[in-house]
Amino acid sequence: MDQVLLNSILTLSGIAILASSILFIAAKKFQVEEDPRIQDIDEVLPGANCGACGFPGCRNFADAVVKRGHVGNAFCPVGGNETMKKVGAIMGETVAEQDPLIAVVRCQGSREKAPKKINYLAARSCALSHMTFSGEKGCPNSCLGLGDCVFVCLFDAIKVNEQTGLPEVDKEKCTACGACVTACPRRIIELRPKKDKMVYIACMNREKGAFAKKNCQVACIGCSKCVKVATELQGEAAGSQVESFLAYLSPAIDAEKFGAKIVTACPTKSVVGIGLENEVAQIREEEKKARLEKAKAMKESDALKGKE
């Protein structure tokens, strides 16, 4: 009995020693020398593997940067300037700062503003719906509200609001990776510089105004008032334009200074001002007051005329 026990212990130990020495030799012999900086960079990157930088994943980003020896134009929008500073430090260079971006949804055709005229009954996919017809709202450029953007977002930053049927971007969570921009079959989502105060046109309609208004109360009708106001205030450099009945406001517009005026210039309320609510309300209030006063003055003058 003892002999059996001893034998088996010895045999097993022998096997263990043999196997471990093979492993040890193999590990030494086949060890791949890797630039430690790749690992370092990989560690500072967010690790979301979202592909926003243009590389398939974070590791590939790190690999590419180290292999070519400089950061160049590689930029991780998810990590932002802070991460890129660290990457620069590892590579021994300073990386130029970039303005952080945020995704904005350029459609306001909510259930209320653009009521649905047709029932869509199929798989829940914007891509499919876009292939099938112009959408429940009738507008061929509107948000389809089926959430392809939500599905691709790795950061849980975009959600379809059940009340309006439109997607909303979470300012805190959005990393501007651009996944939703490419997922949207109608290219409604745009990446714009992230600021406290922003102004943009939330409409992609390229139909004539009359037709657009039939489908949606808040459609851009291409009247170009907003562009005119912007050009007046900031000059030609603003880069805004009107093309095929759709106005576009350049991100270069100084929303801080002129935003509220541009927002109030729009007759269909298709210009959205973020962080400008108070100023806009103030201007609207003033306008209302002015209108009332004018009406009052008219009435008075009419009354005076009547008396005379």
Binding site: K117, I118, N119, Y120, L121, M131, T132, F133
Partner: protein
């Protein structure tokens, strides 16, 4: 014009009337004749086992979906009920209640839900439950009540006997010749008048149910025909070689769970191949393994193991056997 709000969807705009639910309840209905026959032979204890098994399978599925997975329950689609009935059909009528509960739990919780529920389980859940019980409680699982024994009607202390295949296996181990064994007549085997688990006794009733499913196009003929055909072919070859050592094909067909297995267990859509050729290969595999296990293996009955082994091969079969895409020439 009365047309107000039209519905728009991509084609096709019509749909075959078959639904998963309908398929499952048809399978259930096709098993009922066999249940009636076993109640006739084994009395109310057969009904007791069936009802308990169905009840606990459904309950376990409900509890797991409702409280563990927190998803909407799918007990109405009938798949749990079918699993319950199939499990009962694989049990002897004298099995104690707590073992039925254990079997139902293993079938549903381990055999089905742990893989992600309906459609994702690689093994037939009823067979998982059955084999678990067979290995854990071999004595209880192989005490078969004799048909018509008065005690069997109350389920306690029933007279028990071996199944036909069990008798033969034991006889051959003792060196007896088949002609010297006292086997039930083929007629009573066909009707179901022999000891055995609930569902496997009456080949006739199972056959009727199977034909109904074939006729309703719920199952296709490929698996049952390949399975039974292979079994008959192997049995015939060996029987012709030595009739005293190897059983006749008809007994193979009628005595054990071959009918139940071929029509109801192997044809389980979730755990069988998708393509027609794959199904034929699957059926042949089941037939070969069943015969080998019955004749050369340790157990007298091999249908369950054969189907489970073939279940494991299904992903491979599905990968290998695919229809040739139209107009694509193999390089």
């Amino acid at each position: 014009m009365s047309v107000e709000q039209l519905t728009v969807s991509p084609s096709p705009h019509i749909k075959d009337s078959h639904t998963t639910k309908e398929i499952m309840w048809w399978v259930f209905a096709a098993l009922v004749p066999a249940l009636v026959v076993s109640v006739y032979f084994f009395g109310w204890s057969a009904l007791r086992v069936s009802l308990l098994s169905i009840f606990f399978c459904v309950i376990f599925e409900f509890l797991i979906q409702r409280f563990m997975l927190k998803v909407s329950t799918t007990i109405c689609d009938g798949s749990a009920a079918v699993t319950g009935l199939l499990l009962a059909f694989n049990l002897p009528s004298t099995l104690p209640t707590w073992m039925i509960i254990v079997g139902a739990f293993v079938a549903i919780a381990i055999g089905k839900m742990s893989f992600g529920g309906l459609g994702k389980n690689p093994f037939n859940p009823a067979l998982v439950g059955r084999v678990f019980l067979l290995i854990s409680f071999p004595v209880d699982m192989t005490s078969w009540a004799l048909p018509f024994s008065s005690e069997a009607f109350f389920g306690v202390d029933a007279k028990t006997g071996a199944t036909v295949l069990g008798m033969v296996k034991e006889g051959i181990m003792q060196g007896k010749l088949i002609s010297a064994m006292a086997l039930p007549s083929l007629k009573s085997m066909f009707a179901g008048n022999m000891p055995g688990s609930l569902g496997e006794v009456s080949a006739l009733a199972l056959f009727i149910g199977g034909i109904a499913l074939l006729f309703k196009r719920i199952i296709s003929w490929h698996i049952p025909v390949a399975f039974l055909g292979t079994l008959i072919f192997m049995a015939l070859s060996f029987n012709l070689y030595n009739g005293e050592r190897f059983l006749a094909p008809l007994i193979h067909l009628l005595a054990g769970g071959a009918m139940l297995g071929a029509f109801f267990m192997a044809t389980d859509m979730v755990t069988s191949p998708m393509t027609r050729w794959g199904q034929i290969i699957f059926g042949i595999g089941c037939g070969v393994l069943t015969y080998l296990i019955r004749t050369f293996g340790a157990y007298p009955e091999g249908v369950s193991f054969a189907i489970l082994i073939m279940n494991a091969l299904v992903p491979l079969i599905d990968k290998m056997i695919r229809p040739r895409p139209f107009g694509v020439v193999k390089k």
